[in-house]
């Protein structure tokens, strides 16, 4: 089964000099995890996103589309990256999700892809 692992983190936590040091460490751990998952043939895709200051949202209301600056939702945690993995079941997906590095306050969501 394919699962999307979505990584949500409070962006503000990375803003401080201390946060920048943590970012370096976390990015390193992402690289190591992704390399391992790719070597095992588990990871299908993945990547990190630039900050929400680069986000643009296309909203559709009553059939009318408008373009907005910024991410679609004003929450503390924002989507910062993802892994697309192929594993036999949810337990294995959760075991990988636990290993995804996040800064304190981060959340990792696991969602199965629709099976066609």
């Amino acid at each position: 089964m394919q699962y999307m692992i979505l990584v949500y983190e409070p962006e503000a936590a990375y803003a401080t000099p201390e946060g920048q040091a943590k970012l370096k460490d976390i990015v390193g751990r992402h690289m190591a995890l992704a390399a391992e998952l790719k070597a095992k043939g588990v990871q299908k895709d993945g990547g990190g996103l630039q900050g929400t200051e680069t986000a643009t949202t296309v909203a559709t209301v009553n059939g009318q589309q408008t373009i907005h600056d910024g991410p679609f939702a004003e929450t503390r945690e924002h989507l910062g990256g993802y892994y697309l993995i192929d594993v036999p079941n949810l337990d294995e997906a959760l075991a990988i999700a636990r290993r995804v590095p996040v800064i304190d306050g981060g959340k990792v969501e696991v969602r199965p892809l629709i099976v066609h």
Partner: protein, 407 residues
């Protein structure tokens, strides 16, 4: 229930679990089992089975495999030429094997931490114990459509998210087992509360008792599993004494110990001893020990409050919750005097809008001779909407508060 109800109930966990294991589909397993039960009730009238579980397993598996095959053929017919007529040999071969024991896997699936805790409890009681949605709705105080939705959603998540039908790996075991135990605790708390009410769903506690016993049989080296099974037995032992003739609640220390079921207490003690022998303490074992200490009054004639207070000290470390803190304060009040109990109660923050807190405050205030405080606390407790049995008890205690001012 029909005359074969007991046989069907006893066979259910094993047969449904085996069906779910083979079919990897909880709905299909439940439907096939229900179909098999329906025909059992007809066939068994004239030919009582030698082994009811084996009979139900064979009948249900054949039906399920037929249903699955029909669905597959229907699905394929839309796209491809029809398959050659399937032979029933595969079904017969599987059905003639002994029933595989998949009960632990089924419990782990129904109690998966990826499901909401209240959904886990409902799903486990429905699938493993066979409680109807209507009965679960009453037991959990929700409308039937809401309960049906809760169960349907949980089943859809299991199927959609790919929850595996497997006993978890060793490293995940503690967390997964904890989820199972929490589920059983929720189920039992619901059943226990129910008994204090009108008993509309009486017998529901029996199911949880059986379930905890089953888990103890399937995971005999897990002390917390044994602790929970013991706890359920000690609590159930006191059921006949929990309400008085007027339907009012009676707290353990005031119950007629002669009404307690000694067979259950003995069974609980045996389980708790086995748990202790494994040398890993935990909250369910401590709770069971508290219940055991209450039950010991049947022999000793008095409640050993010092031991209960010490056990609550230990429990409050592993479960730093308001409910534990309130019960601890009550035990300390009994063991070392009302002033000590009230002092402990005063440390608990943010619990004044909570019924057990006000009831404890009232009881300790009476003991301390602070009758005005007691009356106020009883009034506050009654305003918080206690269940009928507890309301009767609290009203009586309020009437019994001496009228004269303190001092």
């Amino acid at each position: 229930m029909s005359r074969f109800g007991a046989e069907i109930a006893a066979a259910r966990p094993r047969v449904v679990a085996a069906l779910a294991g083979r079919l990897r589909d909880l709905d299909l397993a439940e439907d096939a089992f229900a179909d098999a039960c329906a025909s059992a009730l007809v066939v068994w009238q004239n030919q009582p089975p030698r082994d009811p579980a084996a009979w139900l397993w064979r009948a249900a598996l054949r039906r399920a495999i037929d249903a699955k095959r029909r669905a597959t053929v229907r699905e394929r017919a839309r796209h491809d030429p029809p398959e050659p007529e399937p032979t029933p040999e595969e079904a017969l071969m599987a059905a003639d094997q002994p029933i595989p024991d998949e009960r632990l896997k089924l419990i782990f699936v129904c109690c998966h931490p990826a499901l909401a805790p209240d959904a886990r409890a409902a799903l486990t009681l429905k699938i493993v114990c066979g409680l109807s949605t209507a009965r679960l709705a009453r037991a959990f105080f929700v409308a039937e459509p809401a309960m049906l939705q809760r169960i349907t959603r949980a089943k859809a998540k299991i199927a959609g998210a790919g929850v595996p039908f497997e006993v978890p790996a060793r490293d995940a075991w503690p967390e997964r087992l904890d989820a199972v135990l929490t589920t059983l605790e929720i189920a039992y708390a619901q059943a226990y509360e129910d008994a204090a009410l009108a008993g509309e769903t009486a017998g529901f506690a029996d199911e949880v008792l059986r379930l905890s016993g089953l888990l103890a049989e399937l995971a005999p080296n897990e002390p917390e599993v044994l602790g929970l099974a013991a706890l359920a037995r000690f609590a159930e032992a006191r059921r006949p004494a929990r309400l008085d003739d007027t339907g009012a609640m009676v707290p353990p220390e005031r119950q007629d110990a002669g009404l307690w079921r000694q067979d259950m207490i003995v069974e609980g003690a045996r389980l708790l001893d086995r748990a202790a022998g494994l040398g890993r303490s935990g909250p369910r074992q401590i709770l069971a020990a508290i219940h055991a200490t209450h039950c010991a009054r049947a022999q000793d004639g008095a409640t050993d409050w010092s031991t209960i207070a010490a056990l609550y000290d230990a429990l409050s470390v592993v479960r730093p919750q308001a409910a534990v803190a309130v019960n601890r304060a009550v035990a300390i009040g009994e063991a070392r005097g009302a002033a000590a109990g009230l002092a402990e109660l005063a440390h608990i923050e943010g619990a004044s809008g909570w019924l057990p807190y006000q009831a404890a405050l009232a009881g300790l205030s009476v003991k301390a001779g602070r009758f005005d405080d007691a009356r106020n606390a009883y009034a506050a407790a009654l305003a918080l909407g206690p269940a009928a049995a507890e309301r009767l008890y609290l009203e009586r205690r309020r009437r019994d508060v001496p009228a004269q001012a303190e001092g």
